[in-house]
């Protein structure tokens, strides 16, 4: 078996006295599609922030390709191919849609204006290339978030609830897109509440409840797991 | 040879001076420390308060401290208006940082030039029985022009602190600096609370202005000397902490007084910067406050 692309080892994150993540360990293999689920406030987004470096970790290790990255600033991690999208779309407001992608491409990806156009076309945003983000609809904004993440040429892409608020057909469209991206060699971690999307996409599921990993394995088994059901449905 | 009595006198003078600085910084501790509104123009408003006090004192013979309190409601209303404008133009648009800072800087400049145009660039002073008098105590001299501002300042800070800790509105103001969502859940509009708090912050400028003109004669551009001091004290004290701000004011006052007496008064304005920069660089939480 080859070494995992991403290793999270005994990661703990405390905010003051509150333990947001408690010794979480998980691995993501090269080329894998991992789904990360858990109730609201369970620590999923904190985990993403810790892996991408937006917040410092309290203890534990994060490795990308066996190299420790938990001390690196976020921009170094992005340049190494660890890219995340933001849960609430946060476009660069004064830049056009195309230039939003260009920033990611210049600093983390491989610059070429062809691929900006291709990416926009892939997500159906090609007509909006010269527009400003505030002219986009909510759905287009999500697509921009995804397009910008792709423009950073990720090896490991973490998509944080990119589908919330989308229609049935749009969810399918995005899942299809992520599957194609995965086929092209990108490892993807999907954080999502829409179970239909998670189940269609993931090869493996990890469930986090109250800052702890409670399940990790085959999607069907995880969703049938007693801990997971309890967390989602209550007693 | 350093005379211990001279040092003691300088320290006492510094404590009085620091107490007065706290009055000027109080408005910034509220507006910037708690509401996150970088009101650079506050010291200029303090100077406006000083000129208003001068007007009331020289024309009607009203006691300067009383004049400061009389003007406070007017300053409160002006504060409400200014916050509304700031909110509509910047905060709501999410452009609070760059444009908002430049806005307050512009307001500072307009206020200062406006004072020059309307009242002239001359120094103004007030008269009151305690201004020329002084208390002597165990070899120390406490001049009235420093003692009265010190006492009024401490009283004002104490009252405001009590108001914030005890009253419903006061607690809502404290809450707005921590968590706006929680406040909304309580059925209180954060914007209304912020407006009110900013009005209060502005009202303190009137009183601080009265104290300023008791301490020393005032000309329109004098407010600038206090911008660095007031912000340094708020940052050093820890954003949002009144006691921290007061403590930092006292430390600044004592240091300035020692430097002025023992060395050279022209370095005094630079000392605040000497505090500010290391605080920002190495201890951004200040003495007693949350981390930035």
């Amino acid at each position: 078996m080859t070494a995992p692309l991403l290793t999270v080892d005994q990661l703990t994150k405390r905010f003051g006295g509150f333990v947001a993540l408690d010794q979480v360990s998980l691995q993501v293999a090269q080329g894998e599609r991992l789904g990360l689920i858990g109730p609201n406030g369970s620590g999923k987004s904190t985990l993403v922030n810790c892996i991408s470096g937006t917040v410092p970790i309290s203890s534990g290790r994060v490795l990308l390709d066996r190299e420790r990255i938990d001390r690196l600033p976020p921009h170094r991690r992005a340049q190494l191919g660890l890219v995340r999208s933001f849960q609430l779309p946060r476009p660069f407001g004064s830049l056009t849609i195309a230039d939003n992608l260009k920033v990611a491409m210049l600093y983390a990806g491989k610059p070429s204006s062809d691929s900006i156009h291709d990416l926009l076309a892939l997500l159906g945003l090609e007509d909006k290339a010269g527009r400003l983000p505030r002219e986009l609809t909510q759905i287009e904004m999500r697509k921009l978030e995804l397009a910008r993440a792709m423009a950073a040429n990720p090896r490991l892409l973490i998509v944080d609830e990119v589908m919330a608020g989308l229609s049935h057909a749009e969810v399918d469209e995005i899942v299809e897109l992520l599957l194609r991206l995965n086929e092209a060699g990108v490892t993807i971690v999907m954080i999502e509440h829409i179970m239909r999307a998670v189940m269609a996409f993931s090869q493996r599921l990890v469930c986090i409840v109250a800052g702890r990993k409670v399940a990790d394995g085959d999607p069907r088994e995880v969703t049938g797991d007693a801990h997971v059901l309890k967390a989602y449905l209550g007693e | 040879m350093v005379d211990p009595l001279a040092v003691l006198n300088a320290v006492v003078a510094g404590v009085l001076l620091g107490g007065f600085y706290a009055a000027v910084a109080l408005g910034i501790a509220i507006a910037f420390g708690m509401l996150d509104i970088p009101n650079l123009a506050h010291p200029a408003f303090v100077v406006v308060g000083a000129f208003a006090t001068w007007l009331l004192n020289s024309h009607f013979g009203i006691d300067p401290v009383l004049a400061g309190f009389l003007m406070a409601p007017l300053f409160f209303l002006l504060g409400l208006a200014l916050y509304r404008l700031y909110h509509i133009c910047f905060e709501r648009r999410g452009e609070a940082s760059l444009q908002g800072l430049a806005f307050f800087f512009g307001v500072l400049f307009i206020t200062e030039v406006g004072l020059v145009l309307s009242a002239g660039a001359d120094y103004r002073s007030v008269s009151a029985p305690y201004i020329g008098a002084s208390l002597s105590f165990a070899g120390m001299v406490l001049p009235g022009r420093m003692l009265v501002p010190f006492v009024v300042s401490i009283a004002m800070i104490g009252l405001l602190h009590r108001f914030l800790a005890r009253s419903f509105t006061g607690r809502a103001i404290l809450a707005v600096s921590q968590d706006q969502t929680a406040l909304r859940l309580m059925g209180v509009s954060p914007i209304r609370i912020k407006t009110l708090a900013f009005g209060l912050a502005n009202a303190t400028a009137s009183i601080a202005g009265a104290l300023l003109i008791i301490v020393e004669p005032v000309e329109p551009s004098i407010g600038r000397d206090f911008i660095g001091r007031a912000f340094a004290v708020v940052v050093l004290g820890g954003m949002g902490s009144f006691y921290g701000m007061l403590l930092a004011s006292l430390i600044l006052g004592i240091t300035e007084s020692l430097v002025s007496d023992m060395w050279n008064p022209s370095w005094a304005p630079a000392i605040a910067f000497g505090f500010l920069l290391p605080t920002l660089a190495f201890r951004s939480g200040g003495l007693l406050g949350r981390k930035l």
């Binding site: 600033p73 990611a104 983390a108 | 806005f103 920069l277």
Partner: protein, 312 residues
């Protein structure tokens, strides 16, 4: 237009103004021209950090006056050619920018701004106590009667300032459209997201803080010769800080054109007001214009023009 073409255009402008200058006999034209060019340089320098990265520097006067006073000091020691003074001024102010940036740029922008405000006060205290350059009583300088290539010295100073101003504008335009420019825009819009997409935010902010400071120092270096008498209150005049912020914001801070338009417009307004009304009223106009523009037209004149064009 490529950067090279734009640079050549700038060069052509300098040559054209130099040729036009042959016809000018009135010294006042060069005095006024120097003031305009100086403000174009200062506003452009401010905008590198303020307009592009969104970090407000209130300490223009400090960087500018530091350049001027270092120039006085070095001139007193060696009397080197003006170009050396300009380089030393750039070095000194750039170094201060580096130190300030290193200490405060990790925090939110507002703290950097407050630190620059305090810097202006401390720098003035330092200069006031620096007896070698005249201290509080100021420094007199003998302005040479003629420039090195004939013509008056003021005329020479004007061309020197013009070259620096055009150079700064060309530099700003290059940066705006480069990888650095996109990185700065990301910092201005959302620093955290920029960082997450690979932008080395701290390094870029430091770079432009140093560059911006150095350009301000360069702008200050010839000042002692221009005014012939320099004292702290005039060198640290708050009007410098207000003008250099007002100009880009009125012109439009996100492009290189903005500061140029703003500088030309505001200097023209002030020169007129100075003659017709009083100098205090003059400052009032700048303050009011600035507050009006940032409240009502946050993207300045360029933003208004763009709005008109997109509606048409």
């Amino acid at each position: 237009m490529t950067n090279l073409r734009f640079g050549l255009l700038g060069l052509a402008l300098i040559v054209a103004l130099w040729l036009a200058g042959r016809l000018v006999t009135n010294e006042y034209v060069f005095f006024a021209g120097y003031a305009v060019a100086q403000y174009i340089l200062l506003a452009t320098a401010w905008n590198l950090l303020g307009g592009y990265a969104g970090y407000v520097n209130f300490g223009t006067a400090a960087f500018f006056a530091l350049g001027a006073y270092v120039s006085v000091a070095v001139n007193k020691l060696f009397e080197p050619p003006l170009i050396v003074l300009i380089l030393v001024g750039a070095l000194a102010s750039g170094a201060v920018g580096l130190a300030m940036g290193y200490l405060t740029l990790k925090l939110r922008g507002v703290f950097f701004s407050i630190a620059t405000l305090a810097l202006a006060i401390v720098a003035q205290a330092v200069v006031t106590n620096w007896e070698f350059v005249g201290g509080s009583s100021g420094a007199y300088l003998l302005r040479p009667t003629a420039g090195p290539w004939g013509g008056s010295y003021v005329e020479y100073l004007f061309y020197v300032m013009l070259v620096m101003a055009v150079g700064a504008v060309v530099l700003a335009r290059c940066i705006e459209r480069s990888k650095i420019g996109f990185g700065l825009a990301a910092i201005r819009d959302d620093e955290l997201v920029g960082e997450a997409y690979g932008v080395p935010t701290l390094r870029l902010k430091l770079l432009v803080t140093v560059l911006s400071g150095a350009l301000m120092g360069m702008a200050g270096a010839p000042l002692p010769f221009y005014v012939a008498y320099l004292d702290p209150p005039s060198a640290f005049n708050l009007a410098y800080a207000v003008n250099t912020i007002a100009m880009p914001l009125i012109g439009g801070a996100s492009t290189w054109v903005g500061p140029v338009i703003g500088a030309v417009l505001l200097t023209a307004v002030q020169e007129t007001a100075m003659v017709t009304i009083s100098s205090a009223a003059n400052l009032m106009i700048v303050g009011l214009l600035m507050v009006l523009f940032i409240s009502l037209a946050p993207n300045g004149i360029m933003g208004l023009l763009r709005g008109v064009r997109s509606r048409a």
